[in-house]
């Protein structure tokens, strides 16, 4: 089935349980799919754009209302949509970081946070993690002191991931932000794995910026995301243009340079908006997601030799496991080598594991039903049994 020349229709999530760590939370709702069909044309949301001609002022479809609702939901003051969380990082870094400025990241920060700092000319300084792969307030304080000694000043900005992409561990952002603020360092909360997955309250966390990923965690098409700020920071990051053309004397109204004017102008925004009511509802039931995840983890850990490399019990549905002493022991003698595991999962209707991975790998059960979680658990046990790996019943 083709949906264009050489483009096969994608049916991954219709045919399989998809445990890809970065895809689970971005799976579209039916409403988002419908909205994308209706608003696929280029500037589709701009039919009723009137003065002052900016995306977040459009009332039909209700984009202006969506921005207000999103800010209220995150308990922040102002929101803009951005083409992915990375563009949120970029806007904030470009506002506060200048050449040679130290910026606080962590040993688990996403690469796009580094790139945002690099592009702004900043210098990355990472807070090291502890033995449990957690970023702590104490380590943050120590790193700030180190930076102060090295640069003669504190970092100009801190990027803190609430749940990191490597282990899916939950870090104490509130306490870390407190330490940063005691040193007058603004804090960007990276909610790529939390906004749209579990409740997030920016004011309670005490952060200056909340960044979320639409395509990673808000059931929206890529690239989409949100950048939310406090009122104080909004005036800085969302400052309006002042440039004037010397020949034409043109000015550009209330366009915002960091946003490059309007941001998401079609299917991405409308998909994000259509999923929003469902997303607001689903974060209230994150406990169910953890219950389903526990079913799968229980099965994996029952297979002798399997270790959970993430914090345990799990606080998130994305987890890194080490199966070097279980599934990997089969790989060497198996005719498919390390590919046997993803292949065997595929035969059981499961996809999303990196082909060839048998040592350490990540998976995410977000959005699975209980029945699907049990299917996943049974699949891992069946593969273990088939390959003679012992497991505890």
């Amino acid at each position: 089935m083709k949906c264009g020349a050489g483009i096969e229709a994608r049916q991954v999530d219709e045919l399989f349980i998809n445990i890809d760590p970065i895809q689970a939370g971005g799976r579209l709702t039916a409403d988002a799919m419908k909205a994308v069909i209706a608003y696929g044309d280029g500037y589709s949301v701009c039919d009723n754009c009137r003065k002052p001609n900016r995306l977040d002022y459009i009332s039909k479809p209700p984009i202006a209302e969506f921005h207000k609702d999103m800010a209220a939901w995150l308990n922040m003051d102002t929101v803009r949509t951005v083409p992915g969380a990375r563009r949120g990082f970029q806007a904030v870094a470009h506002t506060y970081v200048h050449k040679g400025d130290p910026v606080l990241l962590t040993s688990l920060s996403h690469y796009t946070e580094f790139l945002a700092v690099e592009e702004a000319g900043g210098i990355a300084r990472e807070i090291p993690v502890d033995a449990d792969h957690k970023v702590t307030p104490d380590a943050t304080a120590t790193k700030i002191e180190e930076v102060q000694r090295e640069f003669g000043r504190v970092p100009v900005l801190a990027f803190i991931d609430h749940v990191d992409y490597q282990y899916g561990n939950m870090h104490d952002v509130k306490a870390i932000a407190k330490v940063a603020h005691e040193n007058d360092i603004p804090v960007l909360y990276n909610g790529a794995y939390t906004v749209g997955i579990l409740p997030v309250d920016g004011k309670d966390l005490g952060v200056d910026f909340v960044v979320g990923s639409g395509h990673k965690s808000m059931a929206a098409p890529a690239p989409s995301g949100v950048l939310a700020t406090t009122a104080e920071r909004a005036a800085e990051v969302f400052r309006t243009t002042t440039i004037v053309g010397d020949v034409t004397n043109r000015k550009f109204g209330i366009k915002e340079p960091e946003m490059m004017g309007c941001t998401l102008m079609g299917a991405t925004l409308i998909g994000l908006m259509a999923s929003f009511p469902h997303v607001k509802e689903r974060v209230k039931h994150f406990d169910r997601e953890l219950e389903n995840h526990a079913i799968v983890m229980g099965a994996l850990l029952a297979i002798e030799g399997t270790k959970c490399l993430s914090e345990y019990p799990r606080k998130h549905t994305m987890t890194r496991v080490d199966t070097t002493a279980s599934f990997d022991t089969v790989a060497e003698a198996h005719r498919k080598r390390g590919f046997y595991l993803s292949s065997a999962l595929g035969e059981r209707g499961v996809t999303g594991l990196i082909p060839g991975a048998t040592k350490t790998w990540k998976f995410n059960t977000y959005g699975t039903t209980k029945k699907q979680a049990m299917h996943l658990a049974d699949a891992f046990i069946a593969i273990a049994t088939e390959n003679g790996l012992p497991f505890k019943r």
Binding site: D13, E14, L15, F16, I17, R27, T29, A30, M33, K34, I37, A38, R348, G349, V350, T369, Q372, H375
Partner: protein
């Protein structure tokens, strides 16, 4: 009318996702699928009537 039919198919797509990989539908899902398929039949019939008149 085209949107109605496409959206009904989209709802069926969502059922497929929710029940992957076995697509064994429980009683509620079966009733939902039945209703959607009945609607789709009507929507296609109306489209045929409108477009080919």
């Amino acid at each position: 009318m085209t949107f109605q039919a496409i959206y009904t198919l989209t709802d069926l797509r969502a059922v497929l996702r929710e029940t992957a990989p076995s697509h064994e539908l429980d009683a509620d899902q079966r009733a939902q699928a039945q209703r959607l398929l009945d609607n789709l039949k009507q929507q296609v019939a109306s489209l045929k009537q409108e477009m080919l008149r």
